[in-house]
């Protein structure tokens, strides 16, 4: 029980962070600060250069040294960390906009908690906004796949016969298609100028359409076994309509499977989005996504020199691990109920 509370609260926390990305992130994810490429994370100080302790944490501005590859802190001016400051405008959901951020420092100081990328953009802000894109894509694609999968699976299992065969063969085809190559082809066929929102929706639709086959097979199996149960037969004997039987006696059996599938599909679809963006087929620059951020790690010098560029990987692992823990919890619970 305690484990369940931990897992769920961690997941909820992560999603809140992601939902409130604009509020938590100190900066706009696309703003370039061209004087600070690949700057390491800001150090949060309590004790200044003179050895005096300050209750309010502060940072120093850093600037590249002569050679341009190392950053040195300019100890002359302290930039105290301020909370609930005003900064770049952002929207939490379309319609709700604000410019208040949890924390920040006065310019020209920069509060870069996870360093900056090659354009001087704040990696921490980008991870939050990028995770929002990736996780939202994963969730929406899951909803889409489960909806299509459940409807088709139920239809196939409940009606049987020709419909069943057609749906299941179609599912086979979808499972056999090498979807990565399909996506390459789809992207190549589309016009070059695709705005971010269209690209995002396309991504979700493609993932959802490709992903319906497995849940639909599982749902079909359960529906098949459920509709043969004695009490279902009895209900039918008493004159219950097929729709009533489906709603009252058959579908409730599928909830467990659908939920478990959801837990499995969300991280899988998040990873799929990451893969596509990593390969340059997802959300394009300057918008962030975990995949496109990880894409820069393909370059040897980034991989070897700037450890903070791994931040999106950490975020990805955290989210995926959270969902897997949730799924295994659900699984255990289901076993408990069954026994």
């Amino acid at each position: 029980m305690k484990r369940a509370v931990t897992v769920v609260s961690v997941l909820v926390g992560l999603h809140l962070l992601i939902l409130l990305a604009g509020f938590v992130a100190p900066y706009d994810p696309t703003t370039q600060v061209r004087t600070l490429p690949f700057a390491p994370p800001s150090r949060i100080h309590f004790v200044d250069a003179a050895g005096i302790f300050h209750l309010r944490p502060f940072v120093y501005a850093s600037a590249p040294d002569g050679a341009g590859d190392y950053y040195v802190e300019d100890m002359s001016v302290r930039y105290p960390v301020r909370f609930f400051t005003r900064g770049a405008r952002y929207s939490i959901v379309p319609g709700i906009e604000s410019d208040v951020h949890v924390a920040g420092v006065d310019a020209p100081g920069r509060l870069t908690l996870a360093g900056t990328d090659g354009y001087g953009r704040d990696v921490f802000s980008r991870v939050l906004h990028g995770a929002r894109v990736s996780v939202t894509a994963g969730l929406l694609a899951t909803l889409c796949a489960l909806f299509v999968g459940t409807v088709l699976g139920t239809l196939a299992g409940f009606t049987g016969g020709v419909v069943d065969r057609i749906v299941m063969r179609a599912a086979d085809v979808f499972m056999a298609v090498p979807w990565l190559y399909l996506l390459f082809a789809v992207r190549a066929a589309l016009p070059l100028h695709l705005d971010t929102r269209a690209a995002f929706l396309l991504l979700v639709a493609v993932l959802g359409v490709v992903g319906w086959a497995r849940p639909s097979r599982l749902v079909r199996g359960i529906v098949l076994s459920a509709k043969e149960r004695a009490y279902v037969r009895v209900a039918e004997g008493f004159g219950a309509s097929p729709l009533y039987v489906l709603r009252r006696h058959v579908l409730p059996h599928t909830y467990g499977v659908v939920l478990t599938q959801a837990g499995l599909l969300v991280p899988q679809f998040i990873l799929a989005e990451v893969t596509l963006s990593f390969l340059g087929l997802g959300i394009g620059e300057p918008e962030a996504s975990l995949g496109s951020m990880l894409g820069t790690l393909q370059q040897y010098h980034v991989l070897a020199s700037y450890w903070w560029m791994f931040a999106p990987a950490i975020a990805l692992v955290a989210v995926a691990a959270g969902y897997h823990a949730l799924t295994s919890l659900a699984h255990d619970r289901a076993r408990l109920v069954a026994s």
Partner: protein, 593 residues
């Protein structure tokens, strides 16, 4: 700087001091044949022996000098072959090679070349004027379809090469041709005794593939083929008949074996070099260079930043004639692209310094013209170099009838929002980075720009064939410093005239003017006059901005610290151009590892 200048002066003197020494006595280093007319490299003194490993980005496609088109093939074939007149890669001036001397007729149409006597190909067969005549015959043969063929067609006619006697050839051109001596650089002289039969049978284009047996291929370069293992490595061994000797009359090259490994990409090359598996690193990007700098002393590298290269990177818009193509959207956007004010405004808004700083890590220079500071002789230094100014760019757009909506978006006279795509090659991280910076710069003008990285072939297909693109970031240059190498970019019918391809007549008066000036410089023999003409070309290009020049990277190379005579150049081939003079300073390496 002073050091580089000294080195340059040193080599130029070295080149001048090259003299002809008829050698009769046999020296311990190698056997000399009587009457052999060798070239003495005064600058070179070194220790013989050892094995030099070079990591190539890709596998060479061919070993046939006539068909070389890709960089790895050029890199390998260049070490196995010799040319008549050579461009010194440091001084960028010409110097004698297989031709020890030449004279030019008064009208500039005829050259008489004197060949070195008594030289032998790497298989021991003697070299004479017949080989030269055969080489040009093969190069100019349409069946062979050599990529070098077009360069040897002067004034609409192929150059004519005739044998005068065993050691003299006469080259006739249909018209006067400036810097004609440079045409001979990198034209590999072929052994007639090995290839004549294939030529007669019309199978020359199939000869000397990478499968060729080591005994069936020969050249006049410092190395000859020893072994080729497909997918892994290519090994060259010292050519015992090579025609250069050092100051101690020791026959060059010093190093016994040259091994080329095939790695796949730049990162793999860097990793091989870093781990000590390869000895020489060809051109690398600034980020990898900086990475290596960190352990330069601990791992004993010598890394060299040679300053600006000849390569220019540029943004250009699609100005192609789209009639007959079904591309209404691109055609609609061309309304902006064809407006010179629009292009000037874009140029003004681009932060070139940021490109140098972020993309080239400070190892580059901003550009406003096609000739980079790396080109010592031809740059027009009086080109305007306007500093970045968003305000000026906005003013230019305003006078051209553009305005801004309340949300900051730029709209044209018809109220159409200005949005377009910059297509880049997904494999070139640097050009994609440039495009991303430009995207942010142009956002300040209210332009909505998308960057789309495409697979390289798909991108070329759009630029050269379908014309289905708005704008792209590309790079050119890096070949010869002479303006003739740029002909196919600037002539309106040129195959690299990217912004508007396939023109039968110049589309604009200024393109016609460039055509005229480029043709004129081609036939002008007076160097200052040629410079004046080419300066004018550069000025017209800068005024009409068909290409928006961005920046040029420095040439960055490296080698093991104990590699002697390593004198990399900004011209291709950057590191191995003087491979015959390279040697290992340490006893252990020169004796083999």
């Amino acid at each position: 700087m002073a050091q580089r200048l000294m080195r340059l002066i040193g080599t130029m003197f070295g080149a001048l001091l090259v003299s002809v020494l008829p050698l009769t006595a046999a020296t311990p280093a190698a056997l000399f044949t009587p009457g052999e007319e060798l070239q003495v490299e005064r600058a070179a003194t070194g220790r013989p022996g050892g094995r030099l490993v070079v990591a190539l980005r890709a596998e060479p496609r061919t070993l046939n000098p006539l068909l070389v088109a890709d960089a790895p093939s050029r890199e390998v074939v260049g070490r196995m072959t010799g040319d008549l007149i050579h461009i010194n890669r440091l001084s960028q001036a010409i110097e004698p090679a297989l031709a020890s001397a030449w004279t030019r007729s008064k009208d500039g149409r005829e050259y008489t070349l004197t060949l070195r006597k008594g030289l032998r190909f790497s298989d021991g067969h003697p070299f004479d004027a017949d080989d030269v005549v055969f080489t040009f015959q093969a190069l100019l043969d349409a069946r062979v379809a050599s990529p070098q063929r077009d360069l040897l067609i002067v004034g609409g006619k192929p150059i004519d090469v005739k044998k005068v006697d065993e050691y003299h050839v006469r080259v006739s051109l249909a018209g006067p041709y400036a810097a004609a001596e440079r045409l001979f650089d990198s034209v590999a002289i072929l052994p007639r005794h090995l290839l004549e039969r294939a030529f007669m049978e019309g199978t020359l284009q199939e000869a000397w593939t990478t499968q060729v047996a080591a005994g069936a291929i020969a050249g006049l370069g410092p190395y000859r083929l020893k072994e080729y293992v497909a997918g892994q490595r290519l090994v060259l061994e010292r050519n015992p008949y090579y025609w250069k000797v050092d100051a101690n009359t020791r026959r060059l090259p010093y190093i016994d074996e040259l091994v080329f490994l095939f790695t796949g990409n730049e990162d793999a090359q860097v990793i091989r070099f870093q781990s000590g598996e390869s000895d020489v690193l060809g051109r690398v990007g600034a980020d990898n260079f900086n990475l290596l700098m960190k352990d330069q002393t601990s791992r004993r590298f010598q890394l060299a930043d040679l300053g600006p290269s000849l390569e220019y990177n540029f943004l250009f818009f699609n100005l192609n004639d789209l009639s007959g193509k079904n591309l209404p959207q691109v055609a609609a956007r061309q309304r902006w692209f064809t407006d010179v004010h629009f292009r000037r405004a874009v140029s003004l808004a681009i932060d070139r310094d940021a490109i140098v700083r972020l993309v080239f890590k400070g190892r580059g220079v901003p550009l406003w013209g096609n000739v980079t500071p790396g080109n010592r002789l031809w740059q027009n230094t009086s080109l305007p170099r306007p500093a970045r100014s968003v305000a000026d760019a906005r003013a230019v757009l305003k006078t051209a009838g553009y305005s801004w909506r309340s949300d900051g978006a730029l709209v044209d006279r018809q109220g159409q929002k200005v949005e377009f795509t910059i297509a880049t090659s997904a494999t070139s991280a640097q050009r994609t980075e440039m495009a991303t910076l430009i995207q942010a710069d142009l956002k300040e003008l209210g332009m909505d720009v998308r960057v789309v990285p495409l697979e390289f072939r798909a991108l070329l297909d759009r630029i050269l064939d379908t014309f289905d693109y708005d704008a792209s970031v590309q790079g050119f240059g890096g070949g010869d410093a002479d303006p003739n190498g740029e002909m196919n970019v600037w002539l309106s019918r040129g195959t690299n005239h990217y912004w508007r391809l396939g023109q039968k007549q110049p589309a604009t008066p200024w393109e016609a003017e460039i055509d005229r000036l480029m043709q004129q410089q081609l036939v002008t023999l007076d160097v200052p006059e040629r410079k004046r003409l080419y300066d004018r070309v550069q000025m017209i290009i800068a005024e009409n901005v068909p290409f928006i020049f961005l920046a040029t990277p420095h040439v960055l190379v490296g080698a093991r610290a104990d590699l002697g005579n390593f004198q990399p150049s900004v011209l291709d081939h950057y590191t191995l151009w003087n491979v015959e003079q390279l040697y290992f300073k340490s006893q252990a390496r020169s004796n083999g590892r």
